[in-house]
């Protein structure tokens, strides 16, 4: 049995067609049913629906053999104890800094509001900027408006939320997309099943690009 951990929302929606192509279609719909473990059309595969930030944890411990997680989540979690062999090229967006449109460029020690504490620390250090990071769990855009922070680090898709709040994207930190992650022990002990799944997915993704 292979267990794949997926988070609800955009990643789930965009992963479904990829999984369907390799014969994995959930029998239950997580929107209408409250089950956390979803059976699929393949007897040997089940999906577990969890929070995006929990995907690396589940896979690390082997509670799930595979998982689908954004590169942002993996970087923030620290994923040395996972394999991440495949870029699924879904849920694409950019990780950027953003500030009020009239704000001057960063000078001296700045305050940054983000949920990506580690990534932000590393990024500003690489830019030679001393940054104090303020960890927030949501509504990052509010922070510069109320004087909580000089700028934010967040995912930017269309940029509409930024514009609606008089913010503008500044520096591009990196492109983000979802990766397939694999538990180390599962990769060894269930090698055949996992290798063939990886192979099929990789071929299908290559065809699309």
């Amino acid at each position: 049995m292979l267990t794949i951990a997926v988070s609800k929302g955009r990643i789930y929606e965009e992963a479904l067609p990829l999984l369907a192509e390799v014969g994995i279609e959930p029998i239950d719909d997580p929107k209408t049913c409250r089950k956390l473990i979803l059976r699929t059309t393949r007897d040997d595969v089940q999906l577990v629906i969890i929070r995006a930030t929990d995907v690396p944890t589940f896979v690390e411990y082997g509670a799930a053999d595979l998982g689908i997680a954004g590169k942002d989540v993996l970087l923030e979690h620290g994923a040395e104890s996972l394999y991440e062999p495949l870029d699924l090229n879904i849920a694409r967006c950019r990780l950027m800094t953003a500030a009020h449109k009239n704000a001057p460029p960063p000078y001296g020690r700045i305050r940054v509001a983000t949920k990506y504490v580690k990534i932000a620390q590393k990024y500003f250090a690489s830019q030679g900027i001393q940054a104090e990071i303020i960890k927030l769990y949501g509504s990052m855009e509010l922070a510069p408006l109320v004087g909580l922070a000089d700028c934010i680090v967040d995912l930017v898709d269309t940029g509409n939320t930024l514009r609606a709040n008089d913010l503008e994207p500044r520096e591009h930190i990196m492109d983000i997309s979802s990766r397939l992650v694999v538990n180390k022990a599962a990769m060894k002990m269930k090698n055949q099943a996992i290798a063939s799944l990886l192979d099929q997915l990789e071929k299908n993704i290559a065809q699309k690009n």
Binding site: E84, N183, K184, M187, M189, N191
Partner: protein
């Protein structure tokens, strides 16, 4: 000032309670007896040592994991052992100085500054065995077999063996002429088998296209027995040492398949566990339900050079606390049967108790005014006087 929660232990530090301690000690004794049967002699390296000695031949990781303190006598930096393997290598190189193969084993608590990412413990009990003085694959085979015997003895079933060889990556990166920065960048990516990042990284390297191709393919070289035949094709243009490494892996796998026909074996040529330390074959044991390896080892030649003698070396280690906890799920070692004796100043009674204990029976003697009956103490038998004789009777 007394902390409010003075019962609370530091993070990742644990007390071993009677039930666990019984299991742990049972396994410790059994495993050391097993090692002794294979000719591995027990050594007990010190809890603390000079920091530079402890960190010999190891990478940055061990330095980070080692608790440090200042020796008030010499002014030198000391470390609390975070891995006993270099200490045992020092014993072989400096103290024993034997010309023939030396077999040593050890068990003891080590301390880590940072908790294990999965188990969270900072005080594992390391148990292991090391074989010095033989450079061939036969000594690797011996320690792998001993590791598997150790796991079998702790009652762990469904063990899966993974084999790799760090010499392959080392030779390829040398052949490609990678700088040490590039090598560590690549190392990080290979550890995660992050193929997309690997391609990106490689695109930026100005190296021989053959080498580039071989390094890129390394992440795909994992799986069953066909991995080695694939590797022979893909790594055809590699250095001679890579071919030797593949031949050694093949031979070890064949020997193991003969001795243990039911053992599942997989290969992973991009497995770089302990890369900074190991020099050849690396191996690890996995079991279902645990997300990572439960015992690991490999070859680490010449670590003793700095202590005065360069010797080939191979060995393995595991966390005995983890093995004990895993095996407890399989079978339970009950508490010893206990006999309850009353408190009386009676020479015949004292004599009887002495006699029973000499027969390795457990006798618990009542203390005057104590609470708790024989039954409450968990005793299964009681000493009673019948016709002026003290006899053992089952608890009513």
């Amino acid at each position: 000032m007394q902390r409010k929660d003075s019962w609370l232990l530091p993070e990742g530090i644990e007390e071993v309670l009677p039930d666990e301690a019984r299991h742990l000690e049972n396994h410790r004794a059994k495993l050391l007896a097993l090692f002794a049967c294979w000719g591995y002699e027990l050594v007990d390296p010190p809890l603390i040592d000079f920091l530079d000695s402890l960190l010999t031949g190891s990478g940055h990781d061990l330095a980070l994991q080692t608790f440090k303190l200042t020796d008030q006598l010499s002014g030198e930096m000391l470390g609390v052992r975070a891995d006993m393997t270099p200490q045992v290598a020092k014993i072989d190189a400096h103290n024993l100085k034997q010309e023939w193969p030396t077999r040593l084993c050890y068990v003891g608590t080590i301390l880590h500054t940072r908790g294990d990412p999965l188990e969270k413990t900072r005080s594992p009990m390391q148990i292991g065995a090391e074989l010095y003085g033989h450079a061939g694959k036969e000594s690797d085979e011996e320690v792998i077999c001993l590791m598997l015997d150790m796991l079998a003895m702790t009652g762990l079933l469904d063990v899966h063996l993974d084999l790799g060889h760090v010499g392959i990556y080392r030779a390829l990166s040398k052949q490609a002429g990678l700088s040490s920065d590039q090598e560590s960048e690549l190392f990080d990516v290979l550890q995660r088998k992050a193929k997309p990042e690997l391609q990106e990284l490689m695109a930026g390297y100005a190296i021989d296209p053959d080498c580039k191709q071989m390094l890129m393919k390394l992440v795909e070289l994992n799986g069953g027995k066909d991995t080695l035949s694939k590797a022979k094709l893909i790594l055809a243009n590699a250095d001679e040492s890579v071919k030797q490494a593949l031949a050694d892996l093949d031979s070890i796998a064949n020997t193991l398949a003969q001795r243990l026909p039911n053992l599942p074996i997989s290969f992973d040529l991009a497995e770089l566990r302990g890369y900074h330390y190991h020099t050849g074959i690396v191996f690890a044991a996995f079991v279902p339900t645990v997300g990572r390896e439960i015992a690991r080892g490999g070859r680490y030649d010449n670590i003793g050079a700095i202590f005065g003698r360069s010797r080939p070396a191979t060995g393995f280690s595991a966390d005995l606390k983890l093995l004990s906890a895993l095996s407890k799920q399989q079978y339970y070692i009950p508490r010893r049967d206990m006999i309850f004796a009353p408190y009386l100043s009676d020479t015949a009674l004292s004599e009887k108790i002495r006699e029973l204990r000499a027969q390795h029976k457990t006798v618990v003697q009542q203390l005057p005014g104590q609470v708790g009956s024989a039954q409450q103490l968990g005793c299964t038998a009681i000493l009673e006087q019948v016709n002026e004789q003290w006899v053992v009777k089952p608890v009513a």
